[in-house]
Symmetry: C2
Subunit: 332 residues, 2 copies
């Protein structure tokens, strides 16, 4: 298995992506990674890897890269030698079986469409997140690729989410729901209502609307929404958890008793934290494009990059792109 | 101060609304409440109140009410003797200075527009929530009155949020932000981008886009969004906190040490919980209508109803409706 990694993407590049590549190659002995980026910066980092890992890491040198705040489509069009674009071209040509980047989200989406290309019949791509919920994973999409969606987009997101849930997350018959502002039939707007009608007559196991507070309780296997809602919802929840944590820490600093209490709670907190740790669950697939494109969080450290590489590997092994292509032609 | 309470609204009516009225009258000796609903059900509950409270509670009898799953505008139009509609009519006519209901949200919004009426110049109303964030309250609107907003709606929500934050929450010069899927200028869709341009040239202290994860960190005093996003975001965050709590409880059940640890943590947890307790912070104003209309959460227990009554009282005292009306005519 050969994957391309945008070594210059993300807030902690190139150090953490390179370290992440080492971690992933340690985990999977069949894995080879092409690191795309500045050779002079990359080699000193990967040279620290053990021989059996180092020999599976190669570098494609480039001095151009796309920063986090550049204009997405403009940068991907103009920076033809950027590390992100080169990694995506490898995924398109087949030179690599997939690519991973912790870089500029908009540029990854734009590159997915402009460089890798959409699967024939797919109107707009979607970014999906496998979110840890009460007693399983819920796959939420779109979380930012398609800001405002048409009914056909939501319908296709549901199809793609179904495939991802079934083949990559291993759910036999995924329950698919549409995110809405209430569970009653009269809720939602025209777009969501039309998507609901399309989904009702589809072959999917569609269960109707789901409200925001039902999602963390594992109400559905796949939750479909437009990229705006998905993005603000996901980020808001991240922010709430961080804020609670930060307030708890502050309270802790003011009191003696809780500090004693905490000592007893370490194993529980570790287990609790593990379930919500984005480092462990990193790796957001860009669905609807003719290749494996996995986005890691911009703030990713090495373990999160390794997790995104794991997702890419899994997506290749489970033939995610082929399944979406086939299913789409069956439905339409 | 005389307020009307829809005693039949909410999942726990009439018991909890009636108890809530008692709590509120105990707190404010200037407060009188008209309870609208079934006299035979209401009187046994309020008769338990102490004399000085009981004499400030009166009943307007009706046998009609709007249930939680009825069609919003249809029910408010057709059920002319429903407890919600009668309470709203009192707020419109001036018989009461405001009204409170824990009932059907859609019917409250529809009643706000159809019964109480919009403030001249206001295109669509908004429901706002004063959300506890890291070190202050952030006023989030709309959380469900106007599902999809036009730029003028978002602009007016910002105006109304500014007034609420300034006069009711006591923030001298509120920072106003637009919720978006990224903080860069190119984010958002056409609606949000147009609203941004309107806000930039307004007299408001507008600070631009805010991302979901920045909100819980008190990034702005007022955060503006459409009712769909606001609703799913708020509910999702509620759900995440409940799910974390539920997982923690389950872990706790499995282990001995955390139980011991918890004993030490009680005061800290109480303080932490207090900051996020919706019971204490209940009471969502419907802004943009010609009267004081406050919605309590459908699952409200007595303290949450009392909190909503407190919000209504405060809104009346601070002349919220007059301020919005004046400000609107200044801006346009």
């Amino acid at each position: 298995m050969l994957l391309a990694l945008d070594a210059m993407g993300g807030d902690n590049a190139p150090h953490e992506p390179c370290k992440g590549a080492i971690l992933a190659c340690r985990e999977f002995s069949d894995l080879e990674i092409i690191l795309v980026g500045n050779r002079a910066q990359i080699e000193p980092i990967i040279d620290q890897a053990a021989d059996d890992v180092r020999r599976r890491l190669s570098v494609v040198h480039t001095e151009e890269y796309i920063s986090m705040d550049e204009h997405p489509s403009r940068s991907i069009r103009q920076k033809r030698h950027s590390s992100l674009r080169l990694a995506m071209e490898m995924a398109r040509s087949g030179e690599a079986q997939g690519c991973v980047s912790a870089g500029n989200t908009g540029a990854i989406v734009a590159g997915g469409v402009l460089v890798v290309g959409r699967i024939s019949g797919i109107d707009r791509p979607a970014l999906g997140v496998a979110m840890p919920t009460l007693n399983k994973y819920t796959f939420l999409l779109d979380v930012g690729a398609t800001v405002r969606a048409k009914p056909i987009n939501l319908y296709q997101f549901a199809l793609m989410g179904n495939i991802y849930s079934k083949y990559i997350l291993g759910v036999p018959s995924p329950e698919i729901a549409l995110l809405s502002n209430g569970s009653e039939d009269i809720k939602g707007d025209e777009v969501i209502a039309s998507a609901k009608e399309m989904l009702k007559v589809s072959s999917l196991n569609f269960t109707g609307y789901v409200e925001g507070d039902e999602v963390p309780f594992s109400k559905a296997d796949v939750v479909v929404c437009d990229g705006f809602s998905g993005n603000v919802v996901l980020k808001f929840a991240e922010g709430v958890i961080q804020a609670v944590y930060s307030i708890a820490k502050e309270e802790m600093g003011r009191r003696i008793l809780p500090k004693i209490g905490m000592v007893f709670m370490v194993p529980m907190l570790k287990s609790l934290w593990g379930r919500f740790d984005y480092e462990k669950h990193g790796g957001t697939p860009l669905l609807g494009v003719k290749g494996v494109v996995i986005k890691a969080h911009g703030r990713s450290k090495a373990p999160a990059v390794a997790s995104a590489i794991r997702v890419a590997r899994n997506f290749v092994l489970q033939k995610g792109v082929e399944h979406i292509t086939n299913e789409l032609h069956k439905e339409v």
